[in-house]
Symmetry: C2
Subunit: 409 residues, 2 copies
């Protein structure tokens, strides 16, 4: 098999961990596989560099920031190749541009445009284990160094796996896979054997920080089988793959929560066309990502309330925009809450099973948890509740949908 | 003027130092100059990376070592450009390959083959202060990252200065310039206003660790005026330049010492042609650099003694080779001393003044310092003495040649 193995920052955090990674890679090669390794910077290194940048400049240029941050992966790439070499296996370290990772020109959050994988493929054919710096690329025309944004190494791995037609892309991290919910809250939470790309996308964007959203999208688009597993154990992880018949039988695959949201409500807006458009255009222009949006019209049909949620870190910025618009349009009031939490149930089986949302609402109500806002998609139901009920809600929903009874892997 | 300013590891050791460098660069630009900045890695960073490499592998590959080490300069390059930018001046950071520094393929001690300076020149013409990563380059054909060896950033600076026809190359370091001798030994040592390339070469190779030897050779070959000065003060430094009439008037410019040598003597070798050749070929093949070589033939003309000096770190290796050859050729004995020191006087004026060597020997003798070995070149006389007399020898020679009376700058 041709396998891409990606190791995150905690997996290469120090010399001992890098040696352990080398051993795992060599064991994979010993079993007759060709292996490409993608590594992140040592845990903490990227934050250290960002901190240095902000100490020398209040507003560091993004181009130079990319040059700065790309150095972290070069260190681990070189060290990992050396460690593999020391175990008697030929290994070559490649930077993002040496590996042919061509991106657009959007510094600090570049998109991969293509991968010219000749050098990777040649090295593999010559018997090398290829170690590639994740998170970084180069613009095709100007030769500028770019980075792919937080968690970008996952994307590097999936994109490389796709470019070289890898049979499998293994993402090694500090958790054993994707769980039915956070095991810190529900000790009985079970590791999922497999999960569909769509479900993983919902889980990832909802706060299960196992795989970066963009890398799941990429894997789904190019149909790359991804396994999420732990670099600290030999247990099999969770396979993220195409939806299959088995998966549809499971109504709810997992329960996620996100405490990092705040909710803003504009009360008593005149109910005219274009008002929501104006509000959310202004907010988007400030680079704030809005998650849920709910609009109610009052009984007399003349006034409307609009609620929406934003990341807590953007609350002040979003609140200022909302107040400006409220004044401009003559709204009655703007209120906000930052003591909220979003609880979601996710599962492709929802498409073919009815009553799932009802069961969720009923379960929360039975435990006295009030629902402030509801939002649904084909394979997900999300509720905003008071933050203090987060753990309780996760536990009772995990119970209600019998997730602890899933077959253990 | 077009000026290249190079800052070493101690000059960019932390955020405060980097900000100070940015201020100096901006002040130079304010005076109407175009500025190119070359930076080293933060002090200690390269050693830290080398240490990591040796922890993951007993024998790290040189190719991967270069990739590893090249990361240090990228960090300081990016941070320095950011710091300049924060002072309101446009600045762009370039890696070795972005700056067009093409080298041969000898990893960890590559030679610069050419500099394709278009990007540097374009950026200068567009009003940018260009910050370039020192110490690193790229091979022209394969696109492999190379480093230029210890002190390679000096070489980067001089080579770039030559490639863009810079008026001046300033090397900022932690000393104020080139002194008549080590001020730690002779407090009256004077900073030289200027010194010839040839003298600087002798001083550099003899242990005055101000400028890397290769960078002086390069500057001499391409006639690049170099100023060595301190990044911790505004005092003018020492100009390293072509020999001129003024310089010839000064018989001795400086006194250097080197405690890092050991001496090996093969006693009673048969005096046959080819014996020295055999010995020094074997030693060269072991990558040991021999400094002084002295051969005496005994009074009966049948047996010869050969003495030579090597760096102390290579003593054991060299001794083993010498003993093998002694056995092979039937020499009487092999002895060594590692408690020695080399004292040298340097000056282009020696070419036109006689009696300089005699004065040196006489001065040492007068103070009871025995000379074990003598070696001379056109502009230098070196003596091997017992290490314990090093400081005394430097002081009495500094006195004898009236170096404290040089005009202070």
């Amino acid at each position: 098999m041709l396998i891409v193995q990606k190791f995150g920052g905690t997996s290469v955090a120090n010399v001992e961990r890098i040696k352990a990674v080398a051993e795992r890679v060599v064991n994979t090669a010993k079993q007759g596989n060709k292996v490409v390794v993608v590594v992140s910077a040592m845990a903490g290194e990227t934050d250290k560099l960002i901190n240095l940048a902000h100490q020398v400049s209040p507003n560091p240029s993004e181009r130079e920031m990319d040059l700065l941050l790309s150095s972290g992966e070069r260190v681990t790439t070189a060290l990992t190749a050396m460690a593999i070499d020391a175990l008697g296996y030929k290994s070559i370290a490649l930077t993002g541009w040496q590996a042919g990772i061509i991106t657009d020109t959007v510094h600090t959050k570049a998109k991969i445009e293509k991968i010219t994988a000749d050098r990777i493929v040649n090295a593999l054919n010559n018997g090398y284990i290829v170690v590639i710096a994740g998170f970084q690329g180069i613009t095709g025309k100007e030769g500028e160094i770019t980075t792919l944004g937080r968690g970008g190494s996952d994307l590097s791995a999936v994109a490389i796996a796709s470019a070289i037609n890898s049979d499998l892309c293994e993402i090694y991290t500090d958790v054993e896979g994707v769980f039915t919910t956070d095991p810190n809250i529900v000790p009985e939470a079970k590791k999922l054997e497999k999960i569909s790309y769509e479900e993983m996308l919902e889980m990832a964007s909802l706060g299960a920080k196992v795989l970066q959203t963009r890398s799941v999208e990429f894997a789904m688009k190019y149909n790359v089988p991804v396994v999420v597993r732990s670099s600290f154990s030999d247990k099999p992880g969770t396979l993220v793959t195409k939806e299959d018949k088995d998966m549809e039988k499971v109504v709810v695959s997992g329960i996620t929560y996100d405490k990092n949201q705040a909710k803003i409500t504009l009360i008593g807006l005149p109910d005219r066309p274009g008002i929501a458009a104006k509000l959310f255009t202004d907010i988007a222009n400030a680079n704030i990502v809005v998650d849920m949006i709910v609009q109610n019209v009052s009984s007399d049909g003349k006034l409307a309330d609009i609620s929406f949620t934003v990341p807590k870190s953007d609350l002040n910025k979003a609140l200022k925009i909302a107040k400006d618009i409220a004044t401009e349009l003559g709204a009655q009031n703007v209120i906000y809450r930052d003591d909220i939490s979003k609880i979601s149930i996710v599962g492709v089986g929802m498409r073919t099973h009815s009553g799932v949302a009802a069961k969720m609402f009923e379960t929360l109500a039975k435990h006295g948890i009030n629902i402030m806002t509801i939002s649904t998609s084909e394979i997900k139901v999300s509720c905003i509740i008071e933050a203090k009920y987060t753990e309780l809600a996760v536990r009772v929903l995990h119970d209600a949908f019998n997730l602890a009874d899933k077959p253990t892997v």
